[in-house]
Amino acid sequence: MHPAMFYLAVVWLVALIGASALVVIAARGPLVRILALDTLTLLLIALLTLFAQATSAAHYLDAALAFALLSFIGTLAAARYASEGSLFS
């Protein structure tokens, strides 16, 4: 990957992360916030994968895997809490 493309992709992804964070802040109701946080973690996984490709280091992908797992569990828990009122029925 050329360095110019790497910098462009990082800047672009950070801009997308900022847009997603704006949706988290300016949303009405909890469910749009949960969705925007899930999208935010997906964008962070993309950023980490970009770094892993650029530096040929595998430990960034460990962090990306942890992000994916945590965001999944958090989305399920928050959505269930928003509708049922408690996590365990």
């Binding site: 990957m1 109701g29 970009l50 959505a79």
Partner: protein, 110 residues
Amino acid sequence: MLAWLTDLIIAAGLLIMTTAVYGMVRLPNLYTRLHAASKAGFLGIIPFLLAATTTGEPGIAARLLLITLLLTLTTPVAAHAIGRSAFLRGERLEGSGSIDESGHDLAERR
């Protein structure tokens, strides 16, 4: 040569991710935003994971396979959980031309 291929794949991934975030920002409705975020988001991260395989290290490739598998299995479940939670809360279908066929009258009255 490999660098150009990686650039192309990452550019495609960026385009699809931009569509996902743009849809999430601009669509009027939780349900339509869910469409954009889950479908376009998952489609958009696939090129990034694919482009990272060009480094050729087996450790990286194994981890990428794991991440792809995890995302494939968990993205629909998370999207379904959010949609179900929205329906149970009675989130309204705002936006012109919304039709609600569930009988719960969630669309806006026009």
